[in-house]
């Protein structure tokens, strides 16, 4: 018996198992953000007025616009999976690329939003921010950390979907084997879900 056969026998395919692993990973992501939501909820509970005041600094329009972008990108992601299920490879690739474009659009928006804040001196350690009340400092601390980590997840998602596009082009992801794309989709939808909560909790509490 050759060792190659040995090695090959290790690679057994279990799509449901792969998805299960992905879901479990998503739970760790959920709890990771959950930890920050603990912080948010307690600090908001203790500093209600300061949080309302601080939230006034955030631009609801940009926030809403970004929410729309992210929700749409979730749609395009879902469609790209449906397309590969129907063996429509080009359509799938198109929608994956569209998802990436939307994600980048989200990040560009975020960039402008953050740089405007930083320009006004509202950043960790900034004098403008330190002059504010402690509740407001906490609000912005959480704002930067939570949207920052969320942004990091968006970037990871972009890279991940980029890989998937390549695999789809190579024919690794195809009608009868698309669990990788599905896993990337699951990740992307989780990023969306996190934002679904971040948006009202930071932008809509005035």
């Amino acid at each position: 018996m050759s060792t190659q056969e040995h090695a090959a026998a290790h690679v057994h395919r279990d799509d449901i198992g792969a998805k299960m692993g992905m879901w479990l990973f998503l739970f760790t992501e959920l709890l990771l953000f959950g930890g920050m939501f603990f912080l948010y909820s307690v600090y908001r509970f203790v500093n209600q007025d300061a949080f309302h005041l601080a939230a006034k600094e955030l631009n609801t329009i940009i926030g809403m616009f970004n929410t729309a972008i992210l929700l749409t990108s979730s749609l395009t992601m879902a469609i790209s999976i449906a397309a590969i299920q129907k063996n429509n490879r080009n359509l799938s690739i198109f929608f994956q690329l569209l998802t990436i474009v939307l994600a980048l659009g989200f990040m560009v928006n975020k960039y402008f939003e953050w740089s405007a804040k930083i320009h006004h001196g509202i950043f960790p350690g900034g004098e403008e921010l330190l002059a504010k009340s402690q509740g407001e400092i906490l609000f912005f601390g959480l704002y930067y950390v939570m949207t920052g980590l969320h942004g990091l997840h968006v970037i990871i998602g972009v890279v991940l979907i980029g890989f998937m596009t390549r695999l789809t082009k190579n024919g690794v992801i195809r009608q009868d084997s698309y669990v990788k794309l599905e896993a990337a989709g699951l990740y992307w939808h989780l990023v969306d879900i996190i934002w679904i909560f971040l948006f009202p909790l930071f932008y809509l509490i005035t």
């Binding site: 395919r13 279990d14 799509d15 449901i16 998805k19 299960m20 879901w23 479990l24 739970f27 959920l30 709890l31 959950g34 603990f38 909820s41 307690v42 509970f45 203790v46 609801t60 809403m64 929410t67 729309a68 929700l71 749409t72 979730s74 749609l75 992601m77 879902a78 469609i79 449906a82 299920q85 009868d176 599905e182 989709g185 699951l186 939808h189 969306d192 879900i193 679904i196 909560f197 948006f199 009202p200 909790l201 809509l204 509490i205 005035t206």
Partner: protein, 96 residues
């Protein structure tokens, strides 16, 4: 046998995804519109309820939870339960 198992699911058309997307957009508009109104203590609750409905839609349709094995739904239940119970117990300290 394995292959049969792998593909027993799915078959969502594009239509349902677009419908869900429309619903998500509509809910976003509602949550923004409602935020202007002061419900007092219920303001946060309203925002969270709407966000939960949106999450439910994403989970069941976009993330295919509806057509997945039962074990997956139980898994999600366990994770959310763990998160929720931690919130409740944490506030057992802070709200008194």
């Amino acid at each position: 046998m394995e292959n049969h198992e792998q593909h027993a699911e799915h078959g969502h058309g594009y239509g349902i995804y677009i419908l869900v997307w429309l619903a998500l957009m509509a809910l976003t508009s509602i949550t923004v519109a409602v935020a202007g109104i002061n419900f007092g203590a219920l303001t946060v609750a309203t925002a969270l309820v709407i966000a939960s409905v949106k999450t439910y839609l994403v989970l069941t349709i976009f993330m295919h939870l509806r057509s997945e094995q039962k074990a997956f739904r139980i898994f999600v239940g366990v994770a959310i339960f763990f998160l929720a119970i931690s919130f409740i117990l944490l506030f057992a300290d802070y709200s008194f």
